[in-house]
Amino acid sequence: MALMNLIGAINHTLDYEMGRDESVVVFGEDVGLEGGVFRATVGLQEKYGAKRCFDTPIAEAAIVGTAVGMAINGLKPVAEIQFSGFAYPAFNQIISHVARMRNRTRGQRNLPLVIRMPHGGGIKALEHHSESLDTLLGHIPGLKVVTPSTPYDAKGLLLSAIRDEDPVIFLEPSKIYRAFRQEVPEDDYTIPLGKAKVLKQGTDVTVVTWGAYVHEVLKADKILQEEGINAEIIDLRTISPIDGETIIDSVQKTGRFVVIHEAAKSFGPGAELIALVNEGAFLYLEAPPTRLAGFDVTIPLPRGEHHYFLDADRMAAGIRKVVRY
């Protein structure tokens, strides 16, 4: 066990798995010599050499495209996209190939690869550095999309992702890279992909969120508890495929549903969860399933971002409304 923050846990996990499995290779812009702009890959090139951890030219499509080729040729590539907002140039590779190679070849060419990227906002960064790709990636059949909310989860989920035979997009909430430390076991453990985690049992309302917002929701929960509202709180952990069962079970119990996410509201990930809840718990619903989400605008530059991202107060206000409906 060691105390680690989220970025530290990711660095440790990459190190751990590169040490265990020599087919794991790590690459991307500035990941080699510098160890990544967020230091996720620091020390790996020194330890495993420039053949297994290396800098690439600036070309996201080629980063993902070469990962496809490496995966087919027996490696387990873990590619870094420097920020999720720079994944767009790689969308053709991600959608047209990463997600489809297996289906296209009737299972002949598996792609055991991981694409890691800092995700979400609230870090007072430049334009395009605060993007949420949940829907854009979640909608693509063939991808698994995963996002941890704690250092412990980061290790367990990332190990599962690297060992998975399907391609996994690993979204790292950059806002909480260094937000807090947690005991993380140094040995082997995995957390299954595709399973949500009930963080807190409750009876009055089911609240689903993921990534950095998990911690804000937990704060909101404190406010609500003081008012006697007992929310059930779920960390989605895997955005796709969604763990519908856990959510539906919960809503069947609580009768109320709130989903909270950073991405813009319209056509956002919350819509999918609401549709699922309608399909699986319609007769249990005592209030309209509700989204607390980003406005349908481009994420503002730093001076305006506090209006866009929800804080615990605004979350509590939104949840309260649903409970009082």
């Binding site: 070309a59 080629a62 993902v64 080729g69 490496m70 087919i72 040729n73 047209s96 060419r109 998975d164």
Partner: protein, 361 residues
Amino acid sequence: MLVEQYGPLKGQMLQIMDETGFIVQPDLVPDLSDEEWLELYKTMLRTRTADMKALQLQRQGRMLTYAPNTGQEAAQVGSAAAMEKNDWHVPAFRELGAWLHRGVPLETVYLYWYGNEYGSKFPEGVKNLPIAVPIGSQLAHGVGLAMASNIKGERDVTVAYIGDGGTSIGDFSEALNFAGVFEAPIVFIIQNNQYAISVARHKQTKAETLVQKAVAAGIPGILVDGNDLMAMYAATKDAIDRARQGGGPTLIEAYTYRLGAHTTSDDPTKYREDSEVEKWKPKDPIKRMKAYLISRGVWSEEQDEAFQEEYGEYALEVFRKVEAEGEPKVEDLFKYTYKEMPAHIREQYEEYLEYLEGKVE
């Protein structure tokens, strides 16, 4: 090294055999026996014959959209023939000759154009990637394969294809640049057939040659008469050998011509003159290789016709099998999205089966 003489900026095109089948550069003729050349020629002929058959079947409404290869057989077979079996082959989508040489069954190819995903699954040991429809996107895969060979310390080389039109898309430059930076053992083959659907080569780029695009990535390149089997073989072999010895990537421009339509969906008379096509017909790669083999006494017109007839019948038979078995099973739709079928897809599958059963009742 051929690149020294025919490099990207030399303004020279490598030709070993001229349009009449005459060897113009005897010292460059690759070291293959007449029988070996004949075998490659036969693959070219199979390609042409299977192509014709596919077009015929398409006109009958039995085959779907089909992209013919007529005129490009030497560029395809010559380059593939220079590969070892264990090398990786990365096609664009118009590489029938290469597929047949590499051991992709004609049935698989027909199945693809018939519209069934099993047309992209190859027999064990055939190290080919499937067709990549999004132009240019396959080259990075090729570079990745080659980088992996390097990383693993293996000696396999990758050969990857693209069209003249494909050189305009960013993926092309990114792939060449990566290959250069990582000294990837890969050979890029541009099949410059002078057209991208309706758009003529000179409208794709102001560059005088396509091979000069190698300069941007700082890698060697060579311009080759793509209708000359020997030149294509020689240039590719040279590049593969260099790659295998750690010399990194090479770009080859195979200067050829698409004698037919882009696909069965288009009508080339809308955008090019017949006279242009007529000018290219005498350069036909099959014609010249046939003349050569006949001159060497290992082939005859009669054999040629018989071979085509026989293979044509074979192709038809293969297609009949595809027609008989080429409909996918319902489960095929759902089974391959993930390694394990997730709950939501299973639900959709079962619901659909239920619906189908209900319909039958």
